[in-house]
Amino acid sequence: MREIITVANKEFHDGLRNRWLLSITLIFAVLSVGLTYFGAAASGTTGLTSLSTTVASLASLAVFLIPLIALLLSYDSFVGEQEGGTLLLLLTYPLSKNQLLFGKFLGQGGIITLATTLGFGTSAILLFIQHNDVEILQTFGYFILSATLLGLSFTAIAYIISLMASEKSKAAGVALITWFFFALVFDLALLALLVGVQTGLSQSALTQLMMLNPADIFRLVNLAGLDSTDVNGALAIAINANLSQVQLLTILCGWVILPLTIASLIFRTKKL
């Protein structure tokens, strides 16, 4: 345990030192406060319009940003140390590969978790002070929880990339492709499937397919509880599926554990 804490502590402090925590928190805070108060500016009004519109627009922006940030933060975790020679050195220490992996995950996951909580929490608290409505806290609570899990999931995916890549620059390229796939291509493919398949895709089949993408699960978590009038496209159909937020969050947790397990297996067979 001491080893894991030591590694986590180092990674967390690296995150502080590189201003990652500060910049991510700032981005999230500006985004959420901005959307909360000026999201309706296009229609000529400022101030909170409706909670569901706010969360819907927050979610559709965060779904692009969070995976990108997590991948950027973690893609060089292993390949970077491998290039510098410290990975080999660390493995000659009384430190197992899993301890190193979980230590890094704890440290970098801590940065993501703290940034999401502080960043999005700001506007939640501002709103709560103004409106004194418990529903705000609850909705934002789910939002922050799912955003954190989404970030952790992509941190773990970044570790897989980092452990498989032979060079840092290749890892960066693969990370970008991964982001592009999950954030854009996957949904386009789903839409194409929806339109293209003549016999029609059943609602449950569509929802099941969406479980293959953590970004879509994140969207579902946050839109499931809202007015479906604020949501359109393929999501609207999926939302009507009867998956509870807790179930969705559990699946999202699976999307953290699964890549982390795969990363651990890859690390075990990795040649140094």
Binding site: R2, T6, D14, G85, T86, Y93, P94, L95, K271
Partner: protein
Amino acid sequence: MNKPLVSLKNVSKHYKQLKALTSINLDLAQGEVLGLFGHNGAGKTTMMKLILGVISPDVGSVTVMDMQPDHKSAWHMRARMGYLPENVMFYEQLSGLEVLTYFARLKGKTKAHAKELLEQVGIAHAMMRPVKTYSKGMRQRLGLAQAFIGQPKLLLLDEPTVGLDPSATAEFYQSVDQLKTQGTSVVLCSHVLPGVEQHIDRAMIISGGTTLALGTIAELRASANLPTKIMPVGLNGILAEDKMLNPYLDSTSTLKVPEQEKLNILRYLLADSTLSDIAVESANLEQVYQYYLAKGANQSAGIHMALDKSKAEA
């Protein structure tokens, strides 16, 4: 006799097509300093990795402190080993003290221990500065401090003196001598040879993954049977004419004399009253090393020729 601290028995390690190591046998006693010499790609780093337990041998067995280093139960033993990899880039944005504290904590040691080590290697004045501002020599010293964490019983040093200036090199060898008296075994991996001879107990020369020679420098020198250089000054140019000296003449003023003839020739030269000065140079480690490498190359060339011949015959 004490049990060896490190023992490699008939160890082979192959990567896909590359035979990194073949049939290596080595026993390293406690407090012994072994010089491991070979060209780049000779298998030095692979051997270190095997001893460290980062990789496992394909054939044979590696034992370190009575344990298999690649086995799970040997993890706690790793705190008693120090390793300096070649060309390691420490975390650039961290300060020297932060880097060393991180590594010390992983071995269960404190920040105070890290500070002591930084003082020992002589970079305590720069410990608050980020590593990216360090010179090559300072980085190397930081690496050494890292290897010294926790007073290891076994030190594996890959090219430890690269980038060190002569005085730092001397200081480094002093600390090796000091560790040796404390009972630490050291494997010094190097291809920089001058100066290392007096600090090692035995030398191992490897090439292409096989052992070419293993023994004390004196043993290696004796079995290589390299001539001693004698350079007399004076003598009024009789070297070429003298029947006794003529066969050994290498150039106008240098004699190359086999080890067993050395004293006879010296006595003969000293008897000459016109001799004004004399220099005697035994074969150094560099020459011994070159001799064994050439011998190894000849042998493998011989094997290839024999193979070609048998193929041709078939």
